[in-house]
Structure formats: structure tokens, C-alpha cells
Amino acid sequence: MKKVYVNEDWCLACHLCEYYCAAANSGKDLIKAFKYSDKKPVPRIKVEEGSEVNFAVQCRHCEGKPCVKGCIAGALSIVDGVVVCDENKCVGCYTCVLSCPFGCIVIDEEGHRIQKCDLCTKNHNGEPACVQGCPNKAIVFEER
């Protein structure tokens, strides 16, 4: 299955992936999403910055899928290998935040429920927005 991978050697910690991700999933363009929204949308990808290396982390759609197994509301499910969240069912208990070994489940801008990377399968972005937006090909979408 094609997944998003990040190459630490090339990540510049420019954080553009976060902005492209948040905007793509808000359904607005960057300017509308970040200048003309009541609350700034939250990215589903997280850049970690270090003194020497940087990298972005997002849902691994991992084999174990502890988030799906632990979801108390049946809001998380697997569609063609991709872990997706039904925002209408999520009650914001954050059991998935507790379970995710990568820290990739984020709390939405309202602070009421979670959102997570679905490889841009639910928006109309095609290739994941973080991959498209990375200026240094540090983020790739590929089979490994």
C-alpha cells in the first residue's frame, strides 16, 4: 500500500506540509483557511524540529491499528487499508490519542473531537497535500 514517508535528510522544518494539510482538509485555500476562518484549521501532520534533524510525522496506517481497535465509538475504521475517522461518530474521548504510538492523532480546532490523516482520500486533493506541498521532496508517497 502506498503511504507517506518522510526522509529526515531533506526535511527543512519549513512547516509548509502542515499548512497545506490543514487547508486541504478544511476544504478552503490557504488564505481563506488561515486568514478568514474563525479558528485556524489544525494539520494532521506534525513537524518535529531538532538541532540537526527535522522530520514530519503523520498516521502510519500501521499494521497494528491500535487506534481503530481501541475506539470506543466505532468512529475509526479501515477503508482499503487507510484508517479513517467518521467525525460524526467521534465523541472526543481521545482513547486513540492514548493508543497511537506515533502521536499522530490530533485534536481538532474546536477541541471536541479528533482528526487524523486519511492520505487525502476524503478531500479532493489526489496525492496527499503534504507530499505535493513539500519543497524539498522530503515527503514522498510510495510503496515500501
Partner: protein
Amino acid sequence: MNYVIIGNSAAAVGTISGIREIDSTGKITVISDEKYHTYSRPLISYWLEGKVSDKNIYYRPADFYEKNGVETILGKKVMKIDTAKKCVVLDDGLSVPYDKLMVATGSKPFVPPMNGLEKTNYHTFMSYDSVKAIRSELREGMKVLIIGAGLIGLKAAEALSAYKTDITVVDMADRILPSILDERAGLKMQKHIESKGVKFILKTSAEEFSEHKAKLKNGEEVDFDMLIVAVGVRPNTELVADAGGKVERGIITDMTLKTSLDDIYAAGDCTVSYDASSDTEKILALLPNAYMQGEVAGRNMAGREFYYVNAIPMNAIGFFGLHIISAGSYDGEEYVTETENTYKKLVFRDNTLKGYILMGDVARAGIYTSMIKERIDLGDVDIEMLKDKPQMMMFGKERREEKLGGIIK
């Protein structure tokens, strides 16, 4: 192969999923004394609060049984497991044969003997029916007395406060949520809940009840229009015990989730689990635990050999907007930081992270959880980063590549 599952909650759904991974044709029968399509037990408080609709309380989509080829016998109770005849006997006398049996009977509310309790119309807070009953009696402005300041009692309090009720919570312990919080965190949460109008009376219990009044051992009297008893739960172990299976505080299983009886497995809140964070056997009444046990058991029932390991106590819960995530055990060297709105405690032992409590800021807590489960040696991580916040940066490049490049076991 003919599989029978007693129970219809998370462990049962996990079992179905585990069986179907391996065996797509075997017959699966689910038997439950509740009449509902599988619903999420932890959601009952959200349902009562009005945050979850009648439709969304269900744990799996309406076509779940159909898609998985599951037959259901709902609203009927299993009275007996006949190991000789390899069948279960229902309350209407019908017997259902099995090749492999899953006991996922969960737990029941524990109602301790209390003077005069029989004079009250008390409720428990455990099932869809129990909250439906509460809902039908609820009126705005009611006085509600909740016995028990644990997870269930406080979730009930949160739900009921949506009805502008006047809520008092009584508990024998000197603090709230003792099972998941330490003293400081408990106090912080208590203050938060109090600020939402809930009253606590701690370190005491009810001496005697009359129909609308409780007399407490500390001399106080509390009037109530509704009484909820949420002292705790007890695992449903009788079926296995009566059949001669090994039962202690809960049903005893091996690492494959098989009970001491042939072809009989057990999973979920009715079982005793091994807590990898404290090296002890305990009941881990947690939905994720139930599901994952069920899944492993299901695969084994279908003929594979999987082991259920690395279970730890863990909880994610919030009350009135203040969130807590905690996991592991709390015996060891502590690191604590606190701000007005947040609390963090990390517990280290044997050069590993053993437990943590995060309150307020719970972001990325799972990274800590995985460190406890995987018993990651602290020599391999940057301790300052670990203390600062959960982050992948604290691991060395190699472990990070292994984790982010692929698969979690």
C-alpha cells in the same frame, strides 16, 4: 467450525473480527441478554448527555452481523455451559452447540449492601437500558445523589449536569478517580468539576437510606430525587466457574486467551489480564483491552496461535472539557510538572518509563504509552526531550526509522 460467542460488546466484536481474519465461512452465533445490536457501553453517558444520537450509539454499522456472517440470539441469557455436550443452555431451555466458545460476558454493577437501599428507586449506570431508565425519570432541577466518585460515577455526573440537575457525589475514598489519578491530579480534577457545580462529599459513605434521603456516616444528610449507585463493577464469571473453569477475581486464561476448559476462551472485562507495566495480574476493564483480547482469541479459536501480551492499564477520559490520559503503573521515580491548566507526571523504574498521567494537554500521549508497552530502555532516548513532551525526536535515528518507516508490532 461452529463458533459461539456469549456477549455482544467490544470483546465479542473483536472475536468476530479475529475469527473472520482466518476463517471466512465458519458459523458464528452471538448470544446476548441485551436486546440491542452491538452498542458501545462507554457511550451511554454521552447518549444521556445528548452528545450521541440513538443512531450513533451503535458500535458497528447496521449491516455488521450480515457482512460478517453472524447469527444473533439477542435478549436471551445463557444459563449454563455444558462442556460434556459442548453446548450452551439458554434461559428458554434451548441449547446451542459449539465447537469453540467465547465467553465475553463483561461485568455487572456492584451494589454493596447498604441500609435501606431497598426503599429507594436506585439506578446503576452500566447499560443502555439503565441510562434509558434514568432518562425517562429525569426532570430539570432534580437533586441527584451519586454514590461513587470513580469513572462511571463522574461520567454520570457530567451527563446529568446537562439537565441542570443539582448533583452530589459521595465516596468513601479521600479523593476522586483514585484508579487513574494521583492525589494532586485528583484534586485538580475535583476543583474543575466543582467549578461546574457538582458537589463532593468524600471520606464518608451512606449510613442509611430512606426513599429520598441519605444519612451519611459523617452525620450529613443529603436529599435526592434520584439515586445512582456507581461504586464499581464485578466480572461475570459464574458461567465458567459453574462449568468447572478456573476463576479468581476474574476468569483465568492463558496467553492465547483460552480458559482452563477445552475449546472455551474468554476476553474482556470478565477476565484477569497480565499488566506488563507492574508485572501483576489484574482486571483491566478497558474497551481497547477487550477488543484486542477478543481479536487474539478469535484468531486462536479459528486455529492459529497468537499471544496477547503487553497489556497495561490505560485510560483516556474527560470531564467537563478537562481531559486526562493516563497509563501504566505509578510505582517508581517521579517527574512532575504542573501549570494552572495542565498536569504531567512521568514514572520511571528499571530504566524504563512505567507510567504517566497527562491532564489538560494530552497531545501525542500514545508515544508514552508505546514506550511503556515496548519497555524501551531509557538509555536509548533523550531524557530531556522525553520530559518535555511526547515526541519521536527523543528516539535515535535508527529506532525512528524503524518506527516511521514501517510497522508497529
